[in-house]
Symmetry: C2
Subunit: 318 residues, 2 copies
């Protein structure tokens, strides 16, 4: 556990230190650049999570509620197993949203469990919209919504992902709200899916370079004491050939690197991401940890713990 | 009210007709291409909506629940006032999400109210992610999530907006799930915010033309009996100069046209959007209807009813 302020929805706004400085301290303390990705699939929850949910009752509403409860237990077990090797937990909003309101409750519970285990919480929703709506997403993620019955707190996450297609004016409300809350905003620059190339690598300069310049410009006024900005970038571990150029264009950005494991990315290829600062690159792994038992055998928790520690070591000892 | 099948979460999957054919029938019947946008701001709800919410009690959870209840009443009143002039209601997911689980419950309730008033329901969330996650968003919006306690229904909306930045493989799960559910998918091509130009108009051909070609290709295998595809496009009413070229590139797409009213777009400039088919263009207006009383005076409901009818007529009589 750490001694400096971690995030909490109970703390007054603005009381948190700069996101990148909090991250850097945690990276040094845990000697880890690993982010535990949680994308819970109701059809593939760990058996132990299901055993903890009561039976009885029937009907569509109860199915949602019980599925959401099981999802929380699954995520709790994964955090207990793989959290100690990690600095953050990344929650895939789509997976929770598909359970409706009980899913959103589950999301809040899992975020709290992550915080209780000393992890930073990253909401992976890739939101993006016109400025007024981007402001509403910012309220949902890191802000507060004023209203006639009192202010409503958002998720109070430590960081979130954002989609930049709508441009600079649409990113600014997200970036500014994150900075005001001591949170980070990871902007998509080059994603890890095979189809990303068709749009993101096209143009001269390619679109991903335009996005990288935008990230660098937006982040310039939000640099922490350690030299890293609260405006980071999502850059695929599946395309390490881009990382050198992207690092040139974004010297102050924390790179969030998806695609390690089943998608083919390897920590040893990610050197340029980590070059400027120990906390300048974060390797995020989901299936490679949570489904590690499928390849390793054994119980899911032990397999996840082993896989997380191996990934932590691989990404640290470079 | 209409006689053909409208959407309902209770109907078995696949029972709905093609989205564009349902839309076309409704457009002809109501002589309307108007979409009522609901982006409820808790700080600007219609006073009548607040009067219907009980007082008493205190604390953060109650603030969320009461705010969500007031949001439902606000949206209900707006639908009663402006729904008859409209063919669809467009729900801005960000505005509901910021209230957490009670907000998601409110979203489901407002969708049901829209359906009860004979309107198609469009979820405006601009989701987009790698293929496996896009599949989870599709389950949340138009599908079903299998799980150990029974299947969990999604929102069962008639259409939704999607962000194409991640490319073709990331759009396909959304497009396919929409088609399977008799729903539509509106892909962002050129958004209405001033900052859109910096990225979407750059390149040769500009990015918005690349996106338009992608929409046309994805939509080619999902054309309904009336000649329109279930894969549509979001194209800004604020930049009517692009519409002719975009219509050339996407002859079968329904254009969802935001930006009329406060943002500067005028129905009379949108001719190319409507050219191929009466239902080929939908004008979406939010503040121009729901906040019409700010300019017109009078009570919000009467002002919204008048504004909606004027917009309906302006967009129909071209």
């Amino acid at each position: 556990m750490t001694a400096w302020p971690t995030s909490s929805a109970d703390e007054p706004e603005g009381s948190r230190l700069h996101f990148a400085d909090r991250l850097a301290a945690l990276v040094e303390e845990r000697r880890s650049r690993l982010v535990l990705g949680l994308d819970p699939d109701p059809a593939a929850l760990w058996p132990a999570a299901l055993e903890r949910i009561g039976a009885g009752g029937d009907g569509p509403h109860l199915a949602r509620v019980r599925t959401a409860e099981a999802m929380v237990e699954h995520c709790r077990a994964a955090i207990v197993a793989a959290g100690p090797a990690s600095v953050a937990v990344k929650l895939q909003l789509a997976c929770f949203e598909r359970l409706g309101a009980p899913g959103w409750d589950a999301l809040e519970q899992v975020a709290a469990i992550g915080r209780d285990h000393g992890l930073l919480v990253i909401a992976d929703g890739k939101r993006g919209d016109v400025p007024v709506t981007a402001g509403a997403y910012a309220q949902a993620l890191v802000g507060v919504t004023p209203g006639p019955f009192g202010a409503v707190d958002g998720l109070a996450v430590d960081a979130f992902t954002a989609n930049p297609l709508l441009g600079r004016d649409a990113l600014e409300p997200l970036v500014e709200a994150a900075a005001a809350a001591g949170a980070g905003c990871f902007v998509l620059v080059r994603t890890s899916n095979p189809g990303a190339a068709e749009l993101q690598d096209e143009g001269d300069p390619p679109l991903h370079e335009r996005l990288a310049r935008l990230v660098d410009e937006l982040g310039a006024s939000h640099v922490g004491a350690g030299g890293l900005s609260s405006v980071g970038a999502v850059t695929a571990a599946t395309r390490p050939d881009h990382l050198g150029r992207l690092r040139e264009l974004m010297p102050r950005a924390v790179f969030l690197l998806p695609g390690v494991g089943p998608q083919g990315g390897r920590p040893k290829d990610l050197g340029p991401a980590f070059a400027p600062h120990p906390a300048a690159g974060l390797v995020t792994a989901s299936r490679a940890i949570v489904n590690a038992h499928a390849e390793r055998g054994g119980d899911p928790a032990s397999a996840a713990e082993e896989a997380a520690e191996e990934l932590r070591a691989a990404a640290w000892n470079l």
